[in-house]
Amino acid sequence: MQQNINGSNIKSQIRVSSLSEKEEAQETLEIIQEMSQILNCGLDRQQLAILVSMIENGVNPEALSLVVNEMKTELNTYKKIHKQ
């Protein structure tokens, strides 16, 4: 597995150096998506893209996370009500 990691590291390194901007952005987004999957954030691709751009633009991540959690809970309650 370490080898795997190492290989992937090298691969990713090679990849990073030879990709254009667009593809770079896509790559980044993929990484982030993986991380969110691991951590079970429950955010899909589009949402992640928005959120990442917000953070890059200087939004406080703490606050943003709070907001996101709030919205999730609200959404859940709304769904529950709607189902009923």
């Binding site: 954030c41 955010l43 990442v52 991540p61």
Partner: protein, 832 residues
């Protein structure tokens, strides 16, 4: 080190594969070009819903943060209490994060409540436990060794600015000012600050309920801070100009401009303040307009009393102009210059009426001016109305008195009442003939009063004696004076009365000359009938009579010019304008115009000085003529009385008679010579005068009156001929015919005839020259006939300038008989 730690941690994880994957992703992330990776990681961990795995997430975070550069994390918000309370699990983490990001002493834990308490003090400008005043930077600052986030530090400092502004404003409101306007300003600002205090009380309330946060305070304080900033701006502008000493108007002007601010809140704020501050000014204006009083201790009003020592109560002519004045620096922005002058005028009128005319009833039908009226157009209309009304009252009061005085001055000082002046002159002549030092005022005054008896009215006339110089008789220093009372003093002030005296002096002089000439005429009347024996005497008397007529013609015409053209026309203009005026200033102006007009036309100002000198010389000659004539007539009287005796003693004293007659003839010659000399000088002056009069347009009429038949013009030209015959012929050939009228002249021109006689005597000595002479005489006779024809021709056009002589009783045209006689006379002279 990090790697191994990470690995150690990961081994603790339940789901190792996940941990590895995560690590992998993080590594990859670090190679991307994201700027805020740490934030991103933090965010993802926060939104993760691995509820059960919270413990390891903490651990991972811990390790993560240890391995990364922690200080890159930039929190700009304080951690809300809620989360701190609700998430006890995260508390440690948060504390750690806090500790790392806050600068300062981590052990001192200050709650927000404390900070807010301190802030409430500092926004009132009071130092507190954690917020101190820094005199170096002149600001309130949170103490540097306190551990709060830089975010809250910044916020606190911003709010402390409020406190600084507040302190400044308070220093202003608590200082003592003399000026009423500044006091009003202080009051209005205090009222505005009441809002601020209310806000602070509200804050304290909220603090007690513990629902107050720094952010809330910031939002609440925004608007008051804005207001405080504006007020502070205005105050700083005012206070820097205190040295100029024009604070009140400056204050009001600045407030006025700010009240037109674009932002509606600011404009409302300032219009409120302006409203208060203009109360004193409005009060001043009201007092001034309706009462004429000035109670201005701090000298802020733009009308002030002129406190120079020159003004005394006696010199009331100056009161009108100089008692009050407008200080243009102190006029506030809203009142235009015109309006301020109208206000000034109104108050001045009231003051003047009260002092001079003792008039105290004023219409108070007008409402007082209110502040709202101040900046509007209605204000100027209102002021205008009040002004006009008061001026009308003033004019109504003054007019009757003024007209009476004016008429009286015209009658006496401008010699309007002729018969009075004539009787006065007759009565005064003996007194005034004395030298100036011997004329006493009381004698003249008594004579004046006796002259009054001839007039039915009582007049306030007085005698004024001017400064006598050497060789002055009483005539030069005599002057009539009219006493003028209090209110009209302003119009008839010293300067104007002086010019009236000058005019009077001039007119009096001319009257005197006229008077002397009438005396001459009286003397003449006795000698109208002279026995024919005394041809020489008769001719001398005729000569003097003609001269007298000439002079009378001049004086009469000149005097009538003065009275009519100079005085009457200006008078009419003045009276016409008088009815149109509406205020005292206008009246004074047109009166001055009237006088300057008279002075101008009667050559009494600096422009006509040379003409005046000429006139005085002419008057001088006339006086000399009178003395000359007296001599002549006394001599004639002697002669006539003597010759009566001589006829009786004829046989006895033949020899003696001859001597006497020769002596007499010599004396006669002397007198005639002196008369002719005088006439020559007189005529020279007349020529000069006429030259001068020709140059100016409006004096054409006078010129025409004085020389209507071009008599003087002819004499001038003939003079040139007499002096240099040939040169004259060369100069103007066509005039040769006219010139030859000379020999046919009236027998008084002996001067001209005699040199011709002499010339002809010289010619006769030489026989050759005699022939020439005969030819010359024939030529003369021929040209003489031509001349006669020409004259007849000219007579058709009624222009025979040189034939007529000045106004005398000898017939203007000669009859044929007389002409022949003259020819004979001329031809008889050849035989000498």
């Amino acid at each position: 080190m990090d790697e191994s730690e990470l690995q150690a941690e990961m081994t603790k994880m339940t789901n190792k594969s996940q941990a590895y994957r995560l690590q992998d992703c993080i590594n990859r992330l670090n190679k991307t070009r994201l700027k805020k990776k740490n934030e991103l990681i933090h965010f993802l961990f926060r939104t993760s819903q691995l509820g059960q795995n919270n413990s390891y997430t903490n651990q991972t975070l811990d390790t993560l943060f240890k391995s990364q550069e922690i200080s890159q994390i930039n929190y700009s918000q304080t951690i809300p209490k809620k989360i701190i309370e609700e998430s006890p699990i995260n508390n440690d983490l948060m504390n750690i994060i806090q500790q790392i990001t806050d600068k300062g002493n981590g052990t001192l834990s200050i709650s927000e409540k404390d900070l807010i308490k301190d802030l409430i003090f500092s926004i009132q400008g009071i130092e507190s436990q954690f917020i101190s005043y820094d005199p170096i930077n002149d600001q309130f600052q949170v103490k540097k060794d306190i551990a709060i986030s830089s975010a809250s530090r910044k916020l606190l400092n911003v709010m402390c600015e409020c406190g600084w502004l507040f302190k400044k404003i308070q220093t202003f409101t608590q200082s003592n000012y003399n000026s009423l306007v500044l006091q009003a300003l202080q009051n209005s600002i205090k009222e505005e600050l009441n809002e601020y205090y209310r806000l602070i009380a509200y804050f304290e309330n909220l603090l007690a309920e513990s629902t107050l946060t720094l952010r809330k305070m910031y939002m609440w304080l925004k608007q008051p801070m804005h207001h405080l900033v504006q007020i502070n701006l205005v105050l700083s502008q005012n206070l820097t100009n205190v040295q100029l000493g024009t604070t009140s108007s400056l204050v009001i002007s600045i407030l006025c401009r700010y009240s037109k601010h674009g932002c509606p809140q600011t404009s409302q704020l300032f219009s409120r303040i302006l409203h208060q501050t203009t109360i004193p000014i409005v009060r001043f204006i009201n007092q001034w307009i309706f009462d004429g009083s000035l109670n201005d201790q701090a000298q802020e009003f733009f009308i002030e009393r002129n406190d120079s020592n020159k003004i005394q109560i006696r010199d009331s002519g100056e009161l009108w102009k100089n008692e009050f004045k407008v200080n243009q620096d102190k006029i506030p922005y809203m009142i235009s210059l015109n309006d301020s002058y109208k206000i000034f005028d109104t108050g001045r009128v009231i003051n003047w009426l009260r002092k001079q005319c003792k008039f105290t009833q004023f219409n108070q039908n007008y409402d007082l001016i209110t502040i709202d009226l101040l900046g509007t157009e209605q204000f100027s209309l209102f002021v205008d109305q009040v002004n006009k009304e008061y001026n009308k009252q003033l004019i109504q009061l003054i007019k009757p008195n003024f007209k009476i005085t004016l008429n009286a001055i015209k009658r006496f000082l401008l010699l309007g009442q002729g018969e009075f002046i004539h009787t006065l002159m007759e009565l005064l002549q003996t007194e005034l003939n004395k030298p100036a030092q011997q004329c006493y005022r009381h004698t003249l005054l008594s004579i004046l009063e006796s002259a009054f008896k001839h007039i039915s009215q009582e007049v306030r006339l007085n005698v004024k004696l001017l400064e006598p110089s050497q060789n002055d008789t009483g005539w030069e220093i005599f002057c009539l004076d009219y006493t003028i009372d209090e209110p009209l003093n302003t119009i008839f002030n010293q300067k104007i009365m002086l010019s009236y005296y000058r005019i009077f002096n001039f007119l009096w002089r001319i009257k005197r000359v006229e008077f002397t000439l009438t005396q001459c005429w009286k003397m003449h009347q006795k000698f109208m009938v002279i026995p024919n024996q005394f041809q020489t005497i008769k001719k001398a008397i005729q000569l003097s009579y003609q001269m007298m007529n000439e002079m009378q013609h001049f004086i009469k015409n000149f005097y009538s010019y003065l009275m009519l053209e100079a005085i009457e026309s200006s008078w009419k203009k003045f009276i016409d304008e008088c009815d149109k005026i509406q205020d005292l200033d206008g009246l004074i102006k047109i009166h001055e115009l009237f006088i300057s007009d008279i002075l101008d036309r009667s050559f009494l100002n600096t422009k006509g000085e040379s003409t005046q000198k000429l006139l005085f010389k002419l008057f001088d000659y006339i006086f000399r003529f009178k003395s000359c004539q007296e001599l002549l007539l006394s001599y004639a009287k002697d002669q006539i009385s003597q010759t009566d005796n001589q006829q009786l003693q004829l046989k006895n004293l033949l020899n003696k008679q001859q001597n006497i007659s020769r002596q007499n003839q010599n004396k006669n010659q002397d007198i005639i010579k002196s008369l002719l000399e005088l006439r020559k000088q007189y005529r020279d002056q007349m020529f000069d005068l006429l030259e001068k009069l020709k140059k100016e347009d409006r004096l054409k009429f006078l010129h025409f009156k004085l020389d209507f038949n071009e008599y003087y013009l002819g004499i001038q030209e003939s003079k040139i001929f007499n002096q240099d015959l040939e040169r004259f012929i060369e100069k103007c050939l066509p005039k040769v015919n006219e010139v030859q009228i000379q020999p046919n002249r009236v027998p008084n021109s002996k001067q001209i005839v005699q040199p011709q006689q002499q010339q002809q005597r010289i010619f006769n000595t030489n026989i050759d020259i005699q022939n020439d002479l005969r030819q010359f005489k024939e030529g003369l006779k021929q040209s003489d006939e031509q001349r006669r024809q020409q004259l007849q021709f000219k007579n058709q056009f009624t222009k025979s300038p040189l034939e007529k002589s000045p106004l005398i009783q000898i017939p203007p045209t000669m009859t044929e008989h007389e002409k022949r006689k003259n020819d004979e006379y001329l031809s008889s002279s050849d035989d000498d």
